[in-house]
Symmetry: C2
Subunit: 306 residues, 2 copies
């Protein structure tokens, strides 16, 4: 988090981006504790301005960026799933310096120019919001689908809004009345306990980031239903996977997602991310920002880089 | 395992069946150790003859039977998935005396008359073979699907043959050369170690019944691939489910399956179950049969009830 950190040099096909605003994600907190063994500059949620770029049309554009950088040659890259390229780099997570610095580089193809109507404070949510939209790429949801979102943290509140934007029947279970009130204000049904609900949901999305989340999800999902695991980092040793066999449940991991629906939802004001910002720090106070983001009850912490 | 155990009285819609041959399954061994807290007569793999039945056409027929008995009224029963009826009974497993006795009762709708060409010794495999066929109800397999079956036990050898009956590309990984030789004789590629294979399989079926199976499956499944858990009883606490999230893997539990394709495969000699019989015991030696079935290296143990 040092303004003097040397600006990276863009490689072939890459742009140099001056970061204006970055977001702190639970993964950054896990990385700070050693997750992924990553040694570079962390940070993967950002808004920035292109400062150097071979494609003149992109010059000075305000952008957000997809964080997976595939090799471009393998089976996955050639099928447009470079998110799963075995030799991928991931911005601020794996082999690629990230957004908690004044500059970063990313391939042109990873960048999405921002419409003026999306503020920096909203645009910094595009990456986690895209991760929430990944669910709709993985499972079909219609007006008969009973969905339960577990967790009212940063990601849970985004996932809840994405699911509410479909015509499914939705219930969110969190632990914090003040966080759930953000959803209640949008007429999303919420509870603070799963007690007494039984196995009634077709789809349960575990956004708790806690080891108990999977067990609770298995208490709530119907036989032959689906549980989506949306967070890494948690130790989930407590869950009895025999329940998966007996009830023939599908357990589905879900990671990064498509930027386009996230951008469109923000542009059309269908998702409200403003109440999710707990505090904005200056770049010089970056370490404090990370510490603050790890406190209980804190939602999204942003770091202004300019 | 007492011939003097009183014959059960068939309820409405049920038939009384004289058991002629029963098979010992890993679940029976788990039940003997306390799994499911079941207190009645165990045994759910059987062949028998109908001795008492309101439907005259079924009288004296040789039959096998589906083991889940739904309530007939709930959401699951009305959608023909009574295997998942929340108040179901399960023959020899849950609330219903099973096949390790001279007689059992089952609803007519659970019974499948046997063609003459299927011997008792083959027919007793219909239930576990149906469980193997359940996989093909759950996932699509074609000539581009790379499938790995883990485990060369009773269920693994059936699942391997079912997968080999599709046009997928198949590899079986087991630990016992003598068991794998049964598959090699059918030109099914086998190995005794997963080392060096990497994440190359679209579908991995864990039939190991061991706690390590899931971890090995996650070593072998490609990103966005599918792992099927086919056995209960194992403690699977060792597997890091974060890998599921990062690779967006689908983990799918699989239990009982359709009898029809299993019967047809046996009738057409497409699946060979004869080499899977390790030993046949007499009813009076039933306890010895259970003990023998739990020994390492033993495949299917049968108990002749007449």
């Amino acid at each position: 988090m040092d303004a003097a950190y040397p600006a990276p040099k863009p490689g072939p096909g890459e742009a140099l981006i001056r970061v204006t605003l970055a977001g702190v994600c639970a993964t950054d907190l896990e990385i700070a504790k050693g997750y992924m063994g990553f040694k570079g500059v962390p940070g993967h949620e950002f808004v920035g301005v292109i400062e150097e770029c071979a494609d003149e049309r992109l010059f000075r554009k305000r952008v957000v960026g997809e964080i997976n950088i595939g090799c471009g040659r393998c089976e996955y890259c050639s099928h447009k799933v470079e998110n799963h390229c075995p030799s991928r780099k991931v911005l601020g997570i794996l082999g690629k310096d990230g957004a908690f610095a004044q500059y970063l580089t990313l391939p042109f193809r990873n960048l999405h120019p921002l419409p003026e109507s999306i503020t920096d404070e909203a645009a910094v949510f595009v990456e986690p919001l895209a991760a929430a939209y990944e669910i709709l790429e993985q499972v079909r949801v219609n007006d008969e689908t009973r969905v339960c979102v577990l967790g009212d943290g940063r990601l849970g509140l985004l996932v809840a809004q994405v699911m509410a934007s479909t015509d499914c029947s939705l219930l969110v279970i969190g632990r914090h009345e003040e966080k759930l009130s953000l959803l209640k204000a949008r007429n999303i049904p919420c509870r603070t306990s799963p007690d007494g609900l039984g196995k009634q949901f077709d789809l349960v999305v575990d956004c708790t980031g806690s080891g108990d989340g999977l067990s609770t999800a298995l208490d709530l999902v119907r036989p032959q239903g689906t549980v989506i695991l949306k967070t890494t980092g948690a130790e989930r040793n407590g869950a009895d996977l025999n329940r998966l066999v007996i009830d023939e449940v599908t357990l589905l991991g879900s990671r990064c997602g498509p930027f386009q629906p996230a951008l469109q939802a923000l542009e059309e004001n269908r998702i409200d991310v403003r109440p999710l910002v707990s505090k904005v720090f200056r770049m010089d106070d970056g370490l404090e920002a990370i510490e603050y983001a790890s406190r209980k009850g804190v939602l999204k912490v942003l770091i202004r880089m300019e």
